[in-house]
């Protein structure tokens, strides 16, 4: 399994043709207490960069973009009852949705963990 990162502070775990998407620890820290996550419908298809989900913190709503193109095959129902999972475990149990990858070539433009750490340190 490989983990990729975007400059929009999302992580993507790739296993076969399925990508699991969430937001990074840095992102949840910046957003603060998360009180609601609006997830996409299963079966929805996205182009890279489309609005895919919305994270509501106490103060504000933030968009989560589709990091790559694909079809939503599963969403994390646990976030409906416990949106704070995104704060407590952003990079594991707080995942948002799984995509069937439309074009694996798009993964090549993403960062690995070391590159993402360097990127965050530069902010």
């Amino acid at each position: 399994m490989s983990r990729y990162f975007t400059d929009e502070h999302e992580w993507i775990d790739v296993e076969g043709d399925i990508a699991t998407v969430g937001i990074t620890d840095y992102a949840q820290e910046q957003l603060g207490d998360i009180v609601f996550v609006e997830l996409p419908d299963e079966g929805a298809t996205f182009e890279k960069g489309d609005d895919a989900a919305v994270v509501e913190s106490v103060k504000a709503a933030s968009d989560v973009y589709a990091p790559i193109a694909g079809e939503v095959v599963e969403t994390n129902g646990a976030l409906e009852d416990e949106p704070a999972l995104v704060n407590s475990d952003p990079e594991e149990d707080g995942w948002f949705f799984k995509l069937r990858i439309a074009d694996a070539e798009e993964l090549k433009g993403l960062m690995n963990e070391a590159a993402y750490k360097t990127f965050v340190a530069s902010l």
Partner: protein, 384 residues
Amino acid sequence: MTVNDDVATLEEELPLMALPLDGWHREKGARMVGFAGYHMPIQYEGIMAEHGWTREHAGLFDVSHMGQIAFSGEGVDAALEALLPADIKGLKPFRQRYSMLMDADGGILDDLMVSRPGDGAFDGAAIYMVVNGATKYDDIGWMIEHLPDEVTMNHMDEQALLALQGPEAGEALASLIPGAADLFFMQSGLFAWRGAPLWISRSGYTGEDGFEISVPADSVTLLADALCALPQVKPIGLGARDSLRLEAGLPLYGHDLTPDVSAIGADLGFAIGKRRRAEGGFFGHGRVMRELSEGPVQRRVGLTIEGRLPAREGAPVLAGDKQVGTVTSGGFAPTVGAPIAMAWIDNDLATVGTALAIEVRGKRIAATVAPMPFVPHRYRRARA
């Protein structure tokens, strides 16, 4: 590019200023944001935790961005009564009132606190006023334009302002300044602490018991340290200040109150007493009296929201398919445990219990007109 865009860009590019506690906030781990032209702490450990701490213990808020103005000179009371609908002439020493500046059409230019100093506070000024940070220079300009030359205004930007709020605020402050806990809601007093004069009023913006403390900027770090060394007190950021005041049903200027709306629609008629209504003689009196008899076009109301999706400022409020209002403040309410909102809606629908809907990102969420405050006020009033 339009003229408005140019102005907006210019404002965004103005450098933010530092308040006296700037370094103190950063040492405490605050995340700083630009607000009202200053670097200000939005949060320290997190909005939910800070909100809860203030409801259960005592939170210290730095509100030094607000404008503190002292008025002196001959005829101050009469001159201010021409600008404010408050009963200034009847304001006794050490007493405070909520009021607002209104334009000639009754539009609200700012909301504010006005009090009568005593014991020679603020160099013996006749009136002390606290106005919003984002509007203070406009307020001062408006008042310079409309006050007679005999009245002197002193914008005391050498004064910092702290708010200590929460059920344990009284015992916390009393451990530093014993007499402060004797004040009742909307009373003030002059106290000395380590050589610094403190003007303390029992008031605030959270719905909890608490105090607002005007302190010389060169003593504010010492005072903030002394307060936060107490077991009851933690520093609280602007994020929780906003969620606390929303639960308390208190309007936020620039959002729930604007120059387009009036005091009666805003449900602030309590700030306009019998004598002022009868005698008039202040900007906006005509609209106040007209709306008292005919009703305003829209009213500020509270809304409870079904589900967990928060409705934010700007969201349309619907009755059937018709837009009947707009959310002016909204978010998740930590103490309520659900999203809540303030909205301006058509007068005929502004009764508690009216079922409405709010549109959020193309979805309709159910909302009901609710009484405010959403969380009961716990002020320490003089009489029960």
